[in-house]
């Protein structure tokens, strides 16, 4: 056995944990730039990173406008999924009959590819209000994880705590507010983290399927740029889409930490 006290593996300092991936990214971009320039690859096949940045700056008005549209649609769909998913979960958790009758249809909605029902929704709703059709489609995509996670969470209440609340004569509302909701919160947030990403995917897919009718969101910018062989702008739109996804994920992760950090086991620091 070693006499040295530093037996535990020291964690990398914080700046290094940021610096290493950034450095790797810069190396990758530099290699890409170099490759495109030396091999003289045409920009409609693969534009150099510098060209993508140039496109981003040049078309910033259009692109940021599109980013705004996609962000709005994503957030609206996410909030809708959250509200509807949680409302149905409460219904399911309190009524076995409701769950038995409705859950199979929720599953059917979930497993049916969104692309295949999109034309139908577009005809039914989209002719008059295209934005409604997009919202419905994106909501359907994001809905299920919230529903199934929240239902599970609301049912996972500690049995003894339930009896304790019964013993102290808790009202229906007190049980919901003080026991079921906090018990379900980690599950709901877990579902929300998945749904946040799915809402973005749903928004993009809906826009793809709706096609030229929208003409405003980031997905449409990608199609349009492709059609015009404006590949630098396509990459720029793609970059913004990725950044949006990352932003959504980290916002929800931050929220989870804020709400659960002080009590939940998942947020407990590991003993080394």
């Amino acid at each position: 056995m070693s006499v040295a006290p530093d037996l535990e593996v020291r964690a990398f300092p914080r700046w290094l944990r940021v610096a290493v991936p950034v450095l790797l990214g810069l190396l990758f971009l530099g290699g890409w730039e170099l490759l495109v320039r030396t091999l003289e690859i045409p920009k409609f096949v693969l534009p150099a990173p510098s060209m993508i940045v140039a496109a981003l700056i040049e078309d910033r008005a259009t692109l940021l406008g599109s980013l705004w549209v996609t962000l709005g649609l994503t957030l609206a769909a996410f909030v809708m999924a959250l509200v509807l998913g949680f409302a149905f979960a409460v219904l399911f958790a309190h009524s076995r009959l409701m769950e038995m009758s409705l859950f199979p249809y929720a599953v059917i909605l979930q497993v049916t590819p969104i692309v295949s029902i999109a034309p139908l929704v577009l005809i039914w709703v989209g002719l008059g209000h295209l934005e409604w059709a997009l919202l419905i489609l994106a909501t359907i995509v994001a809905f299920f994880p919230i529903l199934s996670n929240s239902t599970l969470g609301l049912k996972s209440v500690d049995h003894n705590l339930q009896e304790l609340f019964q013993l102290y004569g808790a009202s229906r509302w007190q049980r919901f507010r003080r026991l079921e909701l906090p018990s379900a919160l980690p599950y709901i947030l877990g579902g929300a983290k998945i749904s946040g990403g799915l809402a973005l995917i749903g928004a993009v897919v809906a826009e793809f399927v709706a096609g030229s009718g929208t003409g405003t969101g980031l997905a449409w910018r990608i199609i349009e740029s492709g059609n015009r062989l404006n590949i630098p702008r396509m990459f720029a739109a793609l970059l913004l889409l990725s950044l949006l996804g990352i932003l959504i994920f980290f916002s929800l992760a931050w929220l989870e930490k804020r709400l659960l950090g002080h009590w939940h086991e998942s947020a407990r620091p590991r003993d080394s």
């Binding site: 705590l161 009896e163 013993l167 102290y168 004569g169 003080r178 002080h262 009590w263 939940h264």
Partner: protein
């Protein structure tokens, strides 16, 4: 088949409320589960005010079921449970086998829960909550969350929560079974001190002969399924319950008597 016996949880008018009337009176209490499994068969028991009664029996003898029936958490299939009006007031305190704390709430909020559910504001309840926390020896831990507490400390929070409503009757379901012996001994002594100070009537479920003899003024020995009370043992000791009592000949004799009664019951 449903029994024709009327189940009464509250004392009917005209019930004997004299000083000798028991706090809780059980008559012919039976519990049968849906599959036909009989958990309890014909339990008669009077719980007197101020006594520390242990329900001692092997696993699965229905002692927890009996405790839950006394608490009103389960309904007997047959028989009567009568509670004297004196059992009212602060209601019943119940301590589960697990600490059963809300992990999202601090020690203060966990102890505050019974008062919160009764509609008391945080400010109005603060003094009672604080005093309960102090009495179980957790002063300074008000803001701590359960995950940072040891098993023994969690059980102390659970006891503080049970005593915050100042109940006359405290029901405990093997509260210390999961704790190590050192912690258990310490909590046993603290519980005895609290029970004396609060003038509690305690019904304490345990499968430990030693624990039941050490804590109780009376032991109800139960037989294996279907559970019945086979013997009542009075634990008479003049001196305080301490290490001297734990090593006294009386203590040994009582343990042997309880052990023999358990063996008789088929344990």
């Amino acid at each position: 088949m449903k029994s024709p016996v009327v189940l009464s949880q509250d004392s009917a008018p005209g019930t004997d409320e004299g000083s000798n009337a028991p706090l809780i009176r059980l008559r012919g209490v039976e519990k049968r589960y849906k599959g036909g499994v009989a958990a309890l068969a014909g339990v008669d028991l009077d719980i007197a005010e101020g006594e520390f009664l242990s329900l001692l029996g092997p696993s699965g003898c229905g002692k927890t079921t009996l405790l839950r029936i006394i608490a009103g958490l389960a309904k007997p299939s047959a028989g009567r449970v009568e509670a004297s009006a004196k059992a009212g007031g602060g209601g019943i305190g119940f301590v589960f086998q697990e600490p059963t704390l809300m992990p999202w709430a601090s020690v203060f909020d966990n102890v505050y829960l019974p008062l919160q559910l009764a509609g008391s504001s945080r400010a109005a309840a603060a003094a009672a909550v604080e005093s309960a926390i102090v009495r179980v020896g957790l002063a300074g831990f008000e803001g701590t969350y359960p995950r940072a507490l040891s098993g023994g400390m969690k059980m102390r929070v659970s006891i503080a929560r049970a005593l915050v409503t100042a109940p006359r009757l405290l029901l405990m379901d093997e509260p210390f079974a999961a704790l190590d012996e050192i912690t258990r001994f310490k909590l046993n002594d603290d519980l005895l001190a609290l029970a004396a100070e609060q003038r509690w009537t305690v019904v304490f479920v345990t499968h430990s002969i030693f624990e039941s003899v050490y804590l109780s003024t009376r032991i109800a020995v139960m037989s294996a399924r279907p559970g019945r009370i086979t013997r009542l043992i009075a634990v008479e000791s003049d001196g305080p319950r301490n290490v001297a009592f734990r090593t006294s000949p009386d203590y040994g004799a009582l343990c042997r008597a309880a052990s023999a009664a358990l063996a008789e019951g088929g344990a």
